[in-house]
């Protein structure tokens, strides 16, 4: 689970990237990732360009490289999947020593490795430099329906509470001599989950009552999102990446 106040992916700082308004950062992220995905995998130089842009923003963000790389480890499981592709892929094949490697599979593996790593890197940078309420406020300013961001806000607010409750149930079960082993834990844990849902539901009702008592009328108060909402310098990395993507599609 994440830390107590801001979660584990966040890196506190005051860099220009940190201070940029969240809605600007979200748009930059979208343009960047879509440009990366639009780049044909054959055009290898374009991916170096995309990587340089990402590393440039990383340098400007004052987020330590070590922190960034550790968080990027979320990438690991599907990297492994990508390494399988050259072996299960279609013909034509090339022989590489004792191995028979599929050419489309190899290209597919490179495609996923490069794009997924760059995409995850960009996402990690956003989260590392933006507080969670700010991300939600940014989404709200980009016209994401209030109901969605409000549900997300409640979810994040109570995540620790509910995960903690689940943990306490588990501790209580262990204290009473229950020892979780392989499959036998499925049923007791699922029963606990049922009890947890009832507690969650009832907590939701209490939260609503408390909100009514404090004058809730059906609309959530708008979240504060400060930050520099200037588009011009912030959009540069996105525009450079989009340019590279267009050049790679046109020029090859």
């Amino acid at each position: 689970m994440s830390g107590s106040h801001s979660h584990a992916l966040h890196y506190h700082g005051h860099s220009p990237v940190h201070r940029t308004a969240p809605q600007v950062k979200l748009v930059v992220l979208l343009v960047y990732v879509f440009s990366v995905v639009a780049t044909p995998p054959q055009v290898v130089w374009a991916f170096s360009g995309h990587a340089i842009v990402l590393l440039g923003v990383l340098a400007a963000s004052s987020v330590p490289v070590r922190f960034f790389v550790t968080r990027l480890a979320i990438d690991l499981p599907f990297l492994l999947f990508a390494f399988l592709l050259p072996f299960v892929g279609a013909d034509p094949r090339v022989d590489l020593g004792p191995l028979s490697i599929s050419e489309p599979g190899l290209l597919g593996a490179w495609n996923i490795l490069a794009k997924a790593t760059l995409g995850a890197g960009a996402s990690v940078l956003l989260v590392a430099t933006t507080e969670v309420p700010a991300v939600l406020a940014g989404l709200r300013r980009l016209r994401v329906p209030a109901a969605i961001t409000a549900i997300a806000a409640f979810m994040i607010r109570y995540l620790e509470v509910i995960a903690g409750e689940l943990h306490r149930m588990r501790v209580a079960m262990t204290a009473r001599g229950y020892s979780p082993s392989w499959l036998a834990q499925t049923r007791p844990m699922a029963t606990a989950a049922g009890a947890l849902f009832i507690r969650t539901y009832e907590r939701g009702e209490r939260v609503h009552q408390a909100m009514l008592a404090r004058g809730f009328t059906g609309d959530m108060p708008a979240a504060e999102a400060d930050g520099i909402a200037r588009w011009w310098p912030a959009m540069v990395p996105a525009l450079v990446t989009a340019g590279i993507a267009i050049a790679s599609r046109v020029g090859g």
């Binding site: 990366v36 997924a116 989260v127 997300a152 699922a190 539901y201």
Partner: protein
């Protein structure tokens, strides 16, 4: 969407702050841009419809409830259950959320979980967000709800039926979700792996994950039905009787028959759709490279082999392989349930 990797779960849990083991959402670059954008549009439309349906009710009372349920699902997703040797999956919760809160609320809740995972926990690609929302929320919640309601119409109105119907609904929702992924892959896949391999691996693995999904959903619904049955929207209008604490033999038989029928129907409808694709399942015939993959996907391998080795006609072969898969899955499921029952002191 879940790609499972033996042995990586522990590593992932050690490195990944959200504790998401085993299952990883579709990353950027796996499906091409046009398909991703199209799925995004479909997902946005689905979300819009769900919002419209819940309407003012949502704003007034259910926003805290939906948010807390999303947190509940997120917390549950941290509990991994073992699938096969060395791999594990976790609950997706689309069918469960739909049965508890209704299909539109189910869509919203699971969609928010997926969106938060992508934008706050950097889990799942940003361009693939539409795909992930579509597969995990827009598909699973209505499918789970539909299967559950249909089964409850057929089955005797008891809590035991509710539990069994949830089990089947959870399983079917996973299979349909994985099939939708295969369709997306067929339209815009960038992996370079043959469609047949992907279909066999995804459906095979998800037939197993689906058992976990179904079991956990079923026990959760059973626990809620036992204490506060008024909180299960899927049975709110049915006035279930609670005479039997353990399901009677007859009820179990009915559930099994209905579940098998639903699964076989799915195989008959879904499996042939894979055949017209260029690769079909013929890839296994003389593909030496697949031996390596068969070790990675113990379920996909033998079935795929069967589909080719025994029967010449591809389409029939696929259906037969699928039917055998369903049979094997149910067998495994019953052995698992029997094991759990035996381990649990009465």
């Amino acid at each position: 969407m879940c790609f499972l990797h033996p042995g990586l779960t522990l590593l992932l849990q050690a490195t990944c702050s959200n504790g998401d083991g085993g299952a990883v959402h579709i990353p950027d670059g796996y499906i091409n841009l046009i398909t991703s954008a199209g799925s995004g549009a479909v997902a946005a439309g689905g979300l819009w419809a769900a919002l419209k349906q819940t309407g003012r009710r949502l704003a007034e009372k259910q926003i805290p409830l939906a948010g807390l349920t999303a947190a509940f699902l997120f917390a549950l997703q941290m509990l991994n259950f073992p699938v096969a040797a060395g791999t594990s999956g976790h609950l997706l919760g689309g069918a469960l959320a739909a049965i508890l809160l209704g299909p539109s609320m189910g869509i919203l809740v699971v969609a928010v979980v997926v969106i938060v995972q992508a934008l706050i926990f950097a889990d799942g690609g940003v361009t693939a967000l539409g795909l992930n929302v579509l597969n995990m929320a827009i598909v699973t919640a209505p499918v789970g709800w539909g299967v559950f309601r249909w089964l409850m119409k057929v089955l005797p109105k008891t809590t035991a039926s509710g539990v069994g119907a949830t089990m089947v609904a959870g399983w079917v929702s996973m299979i349909v979700s994985s099939t939708v992924f295969v369709i997306e892959y067929a339209i815009g896949g960038q992996g370079g792996a043959p469609l047949g391999t992907v279909f066999a691996a995804m459906t095979g693995v998800h037939a197993l994950i689906g058992i976990g999904e179904g079991l956990i959903s079923a026990v959760v619904v059973g626990a809620v039905l036992a204490v506060r049955s008024d909180l299960v929207l899927g049975t709110a209008d049915l006035a279930l009787s609670r005479t039997a604490t353990a399901p009677s033999g007859k009820a179990v038989g009915g559930i099994v028959a209905a579940g098998l029928a639903a699964a076989l129907l799915l195989v008959l409808v879904v499996a042939p759709m894979a055949s017209p694709a260029p690769d079909g399942l013929e890839f296994v015939a003389d593909d030496t490279g697949f031996a390596a993959a068969a070790e990675e996907h113990p379920v996909g391998g033998p079935l795929a082999d069967y589909g080719v080795a025994g029967i010449e006609n591809e389409r029939v072969g696929t259906v037969v392989a699928g039917a055998i898969g369903v049979g094997a899955t149910f067998l495994i499921g019953f052995v698992l349930i029997a094991l759990i029952r035996r381990r649990r002191p009465a």
